[in-house]
Amino acid sequence: MLINIKRKARVYSPWIFHAHAGGCNNCDIELAACFAPRYDLERMGIQLRNNPRHADILIITGPVTKQISSSLRRIFDQVPNPKVVVACGSCALTGGVYNRDDGKPNYALAGPVEKLIPIDVSVPGCPPKPESIIDGVMLALEKLKEK
């Protein structure tokens, strides 16, 4: 019973941690716009936290650089279970513009996010529109319900 209440409460007021993993910062600006009055994610009870230990949803932007890869792994481990990972933007999903033309690996990247941690929801776009990010967060809530 208590667990059920906890689960319900979690889905109705999830907290988000936003990890920037080396992108061009545009996705981060769009994500900030999602929490501003125009797209207002907070009306759905969602709040942006600055501590991964408080978070339920982890939003990752950027193609994980080598410099940040160990920190990202640590952040992922710090988010308590159950957690949902949203990969936001083309470069978080596949590398996007940071891929080399000739198909060789980029020397600065530790690969797209999926190489390091499991992704639950993908939000393509470079940057994704705020509407699209909200869609992604809503899908993440669906996933959170199942977990």
Binding site: S90, G96, I119, D120, V121, S122, G125, C126, E131, K143
Partner: protein
Amino acid sequence: MNIGLAKLVKELIKNSFRPVTAEYPAIPVHARPHEPGEEVRGRHKFDIEKCVGCGACQTVCSSGAITITDSGLVRVLRIDLSTCIFCGRCRDICPEEGLQLTSEVGLAQPYGENLNSLKVEHSVDLSNCVGCGRPTYPRKQIEAVRMRVLSNLDKANVDSASKDMDIYLKYCPDCRRSLSYTLGTHPRKLY
């Protein structure tokens, strides 16, 4: 009273009646009307009639999202929307207007499931080389090239050029080179 202050108060009163927050999910993202002049670039759409399969879009693609695979006599153009950055260069370069970007931007979806919904595909037929049998160019591209060349020539040259093209467009570049004397397309024939 101060005019600036009056203006400010007017704006404040106006603002308190102006809806600010966009509704969710009242209207699907891609069906939302946007301001005139503002362009929304979303999922791609190939025009099956117009695309000739030339591959110009793949050459200019900013992020390498477009891949071209030739297997047998079929050429498949595939756009991976999870790599694409929606810059629109492919649409701008396309000589046949065979590619459009629709305003469908709500592409978020659960990861790993239904991967094909993030791919846009189009296939065109290739033609054979009469000499060696290898696949050469897409049929439609050959027609498009012929039309374009003929429409840019002087009237006097149209007949001979179209006769030439009837022959050498059937061959692949290698066969054309080795057969150029027999085909009569060698540059030396001109002097």
